[in-house]
Assembly symmetry: C2
Homo-oligomer: 352 residues x 2
Amino acid sequence: MSFDDRQSLNLVPFVSVDDMMNVVLDIGIESCLSGIADYIAQDFARWELFDKTPRVAAHSSVGVIELMPTSDGVKYAFKYVNGHPKNTREGLQTVTAFGVLSDVDSGYPVLISEMTILTALRTAAMSAVAARALAPKDADCMAIIGNGAQSEFQALAFQALLGIRKLRLYDVDRTATRKCADNLAGRGFEIVECATPEDAVEGAQIITTVTADKQYATILTDNMVGAGVHINAIGGDCPGKTELHRDILLRSDIFVEYPPQTRIEGEIQQLDEDHPVTELWEVLTGRAEGRTSARQVTLFDSVGFAIEDFSALRWLRDQLERTGRYENLDMIADPDEPRDLFGMILRAGAKR
Amino acid sequence: MSFDDRQSLNLVPFVSVDDMMNVVLDIGIESCLSGIADYIAQDFARWELFDKTPRVAAHSSVGVIELMPTSDGVKYAFKYVNGHPKNTREGLQTVTAFGVLSDVDSGYPVLISEMTILTALRTAAMSAVAARALAPKDADCMAIIGNGAQSEFQALAFQALLGIRKLRLYDVDRTATRKCADNLAGRGFEIVECATPEDAVEGAQIITTVTADKQYATILTDNMVGAGVHINAIGGDCPGKTELHRDILLRSDIFVEYPPQTRIEGEIQQLDEDHPVTELWEVLTGRAEGRTSARQVTLFDSVGFAIEDFSALRWLRDQLERTGRYENLDMIADPDEPRDLFGMILRAGAKR
């Protein structure tokens, strides 16, 4: 009997933050990143099957709460995610997230999970999937500009999927760089802590920008980007927040997840609406070309898309049996007789 | 210190099906229905404050999964609900539901709950709130046509809010009528089990239609509805599913929750798009008239709207301290240092 058959449908497996940390520790973070990358690559290969609904956003003066649903016709997933920059000052997280995976045939939820850690993993896995298709084949050195919460995940994903061994780290706050270097110690990297962004990009075939500036910023200027480089731009991910000088965009071949979303949220919000971009799924399926020359500058303008969360939740669901890291939530009412919901309450009262 | 202050923000209270049954048993179902009715009335009085986003639906050949979000600017809520008519044949629920309430200022979820029982309660409370404004003042007798899962909740809500004491029950399946009558025994009703719908409506000042037919049906024909009656039409709630003959609609004053949704899902999908209807919130706030004469036929064309779920979740959240019927879910990652998510995992590993 399969895990799915043994699992009672009215009980929904819940993966807590603590469970998620244990999944990472049990399996190993590299295997988690590679596993999620495989699921993302599979799902991008089936791109046209997916419902690609825009996010449903509720804006307030201090932040936003969004629901990001998608479905491939077999499974359905949505992520709840908020963004509240002022939370940090109050000792709270800027972003919290959780997600649900459901079975389309029955409509029953089959997983509910924390998605702060899971989103960090899927974002890094997505970057590495894109870079595997776009970066120079011999790349072994990556600059990471911005050494906050996502930086270690990026480094480890690029090590696992592309064999990156040299890291050049830079952050406006040197304690962040120190933290990142300390956290990655003993994991086979040669790490250089850099004093300037110019220093950081020196000799790097891949440049990852993952800063948290909530505004138009210019982390990279045009002169810093040499021929043949792959830029993995993670930090520009909402209207009014970009990291790259426009001139870099104009001489790059630009690859995106989902153009309607990226044109609003990504680096390309700086460009004309009809500026040509290539959808990454087309590269992954061979319908479009990725890197075609050694001197080409490639740019993955990443904003994070619902299908990546879907892939991550699908991966996590498939780890439940192996790890046992979940608890069952009694979330779906299951009366013996569907028409007798009230009787179910009466019988529960009689048993007390 | 208030309950909110004591409750750690990274822990989200979860109300399971079992907890929800115990909330109903602890507080008493009449108090639950009255309490939810009060919250609905409060929220309908603030109607214009709310974000009224359409449902976000994912359709498949066998069913639909919907997210229903709304916010008043202080709290945010969404309900997940599916509809899969074929589930019954497989021993599953046609509809399952859960919901989340969040704090708009921080974006943090503050409640996750089962919503099968809670939706049954709020649907009945909503009907009674509408009938309190629209039904004849001296109503003491209600016909309930369709004696399935929602019927007892309707009876009890109308008893609690309007003092209904006489019930006339009819269902195509007499075992459903028997079940309903048995479940309501000893609760102060005078119950008549009727052999035909015509018999059921005899002498009733309020007619509740709550059948489960998944098609255009004619539960009530025009000759069955006498002058002065209030019709509480619950069962017609999706495109292609109605309960009333069109002629009844043409001589009724029609009251709805949210016209853009009701025109697609409600009884009024049978009418022209510009057929006049009154929004219930306008009646509740005194901006529009409800019942104006003893001979008028009033119709509440109910389809269920996100604000009612919001009200129900808000009410439930306010019962947590009193009932203690919840468990805390470790759903929000809370690193000591927000920029050190990876370090949080490392430290969890060091502690194992």
